[in-house]
């Protein structure tokens, strides 16, 4: 019998190695798997490359991982926010590398990785600083930038419910990057509020099929940070 549900957070993040690329779901704090991130801090992996839309809010979650000095590089679209003081300080001190990616390119590159594409021509960023040094191409009269897929070793995401096969459904705008990050990681780990019996989730409404999920851990009452 296949049961992807692991008993605790420590098992959920086991095996994340120094230097790993880890995608972390969430847009701001919505959908951010705060408990998995805390477990990753406890677990101790260092020199991580983190892929997330942002670069941490306040002092918890991704910000705490940054503050703990575990992140070598951030790949994100919007690091600078009112409460991104942890990242800001590390960045200004030269202690974290930043790859800034337009949000749509970030999503498309993650999706391309999950779908097995070798590269894509994207309209976004053409003629801007963020395309400097990148290959461009005119196709049917429009200019595009060549972008490569972003693969990850692990993805840490948050969903509303899962069954033991790893099928996932999400809640409102906490869905955001979760479904595509799950496809792009060799090991996708989902923290979920609720475990559903097999067959309970409507087969028409499962958002992430279990094939994309390797581990599930229940966090029944997750920290719901203010937006």
């Amino acid at each position: 019998m296949i049961n992807k549900i692991v008993p605790g957070l420590a098992q959920a993040v086991s095996g994340i190695f120094d230097g790993a690329t880890v995608m972390i779901g969430g847009f701001g704090t919505a959908g951010q798997p705060a408990e998995l991130i805390d477990a990753l801090i406890d677990q101790g992996a260092r020199e991580l490359t983190i892929v997330n839309n942002n670069a941490g809010n306040g002092e918890t979650g991704l910000a705490a991982l940054l503050k703990a000095g575990r992140v070598r590089k951030m790949i994100c679209s919007f690091p600078r926010q009112a409460d991104s003081q942890v990242f800001d300080a590390l960045y200004r001190a030269g202690r974290v590398e930043l790859e800034l990616v337009p949000q749509g390119n970030l999503a498309a590159r993650i999706q391309a990785a999950g779908a097995g594409l070798g590269g894509i021509y994207t309209p976004t960023g053409y003629g801007t600083l963020l395309a400097q040094g990148k290959e461009t191409r005119r196709i049917d009269g429009r200019d595009y930038v060549f972008e490569t897929p972003i693969h990850a070793d692990f993805a840490l995401i948050k969903a509303a419910a899962a069954d033991r096969w790893g099928n996932l459904v999400y809640r409102k705008t906490a869905r955001n990057f979760g479904p595509i990050m799950a496809t792009a990681a060799r090991c996708a780990v989902a923290q979920v509020e609720r475990i559903a019996a097999l067959g309970e989730l409507d087969p028409e409404s499962i958002v992430t099929p279990g094939i994309f999920v390797q581990r599930v851990v229940q966090v029944a009452a997750p920290l719901r940070l203010a937006a």
């Binding site: 309209p123 705008t173 979760g178």
Partner: protein, 221 residues
């Protein structure tokens, strides 16, 4: 003497130009206010890039949901008929030409419609782009909402952007506190000026060539 529009008046002015049935993304910051003035007799579909379509107004106090937010990370609501989707689907809407209109703030817009709104270019600034570049190239029509002049009185409408650009030749129309201008292949066409401001004075303040394209009725108003 003339009276420039305040932020809310400008938002209201822009809202008037959004037709029923439009799929619209309102950028973070001032453009979000346009949502407050959409005519209640028109069904207009608001999109937020973090994965919702059919966005409704802010929730009542105490009813905020940290998992129902807009791109500015503010609590919002979902209208009946709205729906949720993941980020790749959301940006497919934006980049695939499915949005009719987006409204964006700007540091500068060039006469060719180049947009600069993501980076001041300051050496010590931490850059952040979010979905700005995707909206700039992806929406069918890009409306810019901004002050006409900087605080020091320099025109934000320029021959060439000094700030790093967000997208090239992507702006369709500029709404400022002083005027409305269309970006055309022939140059900037002024279609409205606030009452009391002469075209010549607007042109002087702007500092780039402008065409007077005001309708006779609009001039009389």
């Amino acid at each position: 003497m003339y009276q420039s529009l305040n932020r809310n008046q400008l938002a209201q002015r822009i809202a008037r130009d959004i037709p029923e049935g439009s799929y619209v993304n309102l950028g973070i910051g001032a453009p979000t206010r346009v949502g407050n003035y959409l005519p209640p007799d028109r069904e207009i579909f608001l999109h937020s890039e973090n994965g919702l379509l059919g966005m409704g107004p802010a929730p009542a106090a105490g009813e905020e949901d940290a998992e129902l937010i807009n791109a500015g990370k503010e609590p919002v609501t979902l209208l009946a008929g709205g729906c949720y989707f993941h980020h790749a689907d959301s940006f497919a809407m934006m980049r695939g030409g499915h949005l009719d209109i987006c409204v964006l703030g700007a540091y500068q817009v060039s006469v060719a419609g180049d947009l600069a709104n993501w980076h001041t270019g300051a050496a010590d600034a931490i850059p952040a782009v979010g979905g700005a570049m995707d909206l700039a190239v992806g929406a069918r029509r890009v409306f810019v909402m901004m002050d006409h002049l900087t605080k020091s009185g320099a025109s934000k409408i320029v021959e060439r952007c000094d700030y790093p650009v967000t997208g090239l030749a992507c702006v369709d129309r500029i709404y400022t506190d002083l005027a409305v201008m269309d970006v055309t292949p022939q140059g900037l066409a002024v279609t409205e000026i606030v009452p009391g401001l002469e075209f010549a004075e607007l042109a002087r303040l702007t500092g780039v060539p402008l065409m007077d394209a005001r309708a006779p009725v609009a001039q009389a108003a």
